[in-house]
Symmetry: C2
Subunit: 218 residues, 2 copies
């Protein structure tokens, strides 16, 4: 891993040197890897959430099934009272576990899956939007430069030349402004990613702790 | 629900009266309902087991995913040591939960699903096999009776008649023997069904208790 600066300096944006471009590409590569990793992590977390949610639904069905024994009105049902009562008490326990599993699933959705989705939708999407804007501004500036450089060196072109100089300056300002925003977002991502990676797992752990408390107090 | 005897008396099998047949049909209806209920209960339990098993696989994947963060070698990975360490410690916790979920799934398979499958495969299948054998023996006996009753009352038929009497007696013995086995199995089912209904839920509860112990000692 090359030793790199961990910050894109905003004052370097104006000069837009090859060194700055090279550092930018490192930040972009990192953001791309982070996007891939976030998608994989999110997929794993959604799988855990899905299993937890299914656990809630499955225990709910089992609880109902146990209660149904009585409703079946078995042809030889007399004398089944004990079985009916015991199955009902099991149904109650399973019902409580169902509440627990459903609560745990809700917690996971809120404290684990949601923060990571938000990170992806907000922070990572912002990066790709700003990258797009920066890229368009760069293209426009380069197009203006090309037009200017191809201008015939004749006296009567002074008006056109003056307009083109204005266009070059305008697109340069636009590109500079876009790069400032882009650099800012890339720098911020380096800080936000730590919270983004840890927050969902804190939520997961918190949900598990709440379960432990629930289990030990019941 | 009609007041019924809860036992098919074996001594009634020989006479095979309409009353006995009527009582038999009640036992058969009950066994049929029990088979339906067992299939539904088994389906619910397999769903719970499936969810528990998926929970194990999902947490295993999440644990691996958390460890993978380090292996990604992020372009700006320097300074990520803290995130890597924290994610690793989360991975350890999730890994322990994975062991727990997998163990719980195994327990459920062994102590909840398996006993009910065994009840279905052994006891309920035995009932339907014996019912089939009893039905065939009854048909054979009735066929012999019909043949005997249609025998012309002539002197020269004595040999044929004597053979038919033997056949009627033989098929009657066979049917009697089949009915004894069938009655026995139907009577036994009434006792076994209580254990069969409660044993899987005891297994389920035991698995949950083991979880509680695990959770509170970790």
């Amino acid at each position: 891993m090359p030793a790199v600066h961990h910050k894109l300096l905003l004052e370097d944006a104006l000069q837009d040197s090859p060194q700055t471009r090279s550092l930018l590409s490192v930040f972009e590569e990192d953001a791309g890897m982070l996007t891939d990793y976030t998608n994989q992590l999110l997929q794993s977390m959604q799988r855990v959430y899905g299993a937890q949610s299914e656990m809630g639904l499955a225990t709910e069905q089992l609880s109902r099934q146990l209660i149904d024994y009585e409703k079946k009105n078995f042809a030889l049902g007399k004398g089944d009272e004990e079985v009916v009562l015991t199955l009902k008490s099991f149904a109650k326990t399973v019902g409580e576990l169902n509440s627990l599993h459903s609560e745990l699933a809700h917690q996971m959705a809120d404290s684990m899956v949601f923060p990571l989705i938000q990170f992806r939708e907000k922070d990572l999407t912002e990066i790709s939007t700003l990258k797009e804007i920066f890229s368009i501004a760069t293209d426009e500036h380069e197009a203006a430069m090309v037009k200017y450089s191809r201008l015939p060196k004749k006296k009567e072109n002074e008006k056109v030349k003056s307009d083109l100089v204005k266009e070059v300056a305008y697109t340069r300002r636009k590109q500079h402004s876009a790069s400032l925003q882009y650099y800012c977002a890339l720098n911020a991502l380096q800080y936000r990613k730590r919270v983004a990676m840890l927050e969902p797992m804190l939520g997961y752990t918190q949900a598990q702790v709440l379960t432990t408390i629930w289990v030990t107090t019941h």
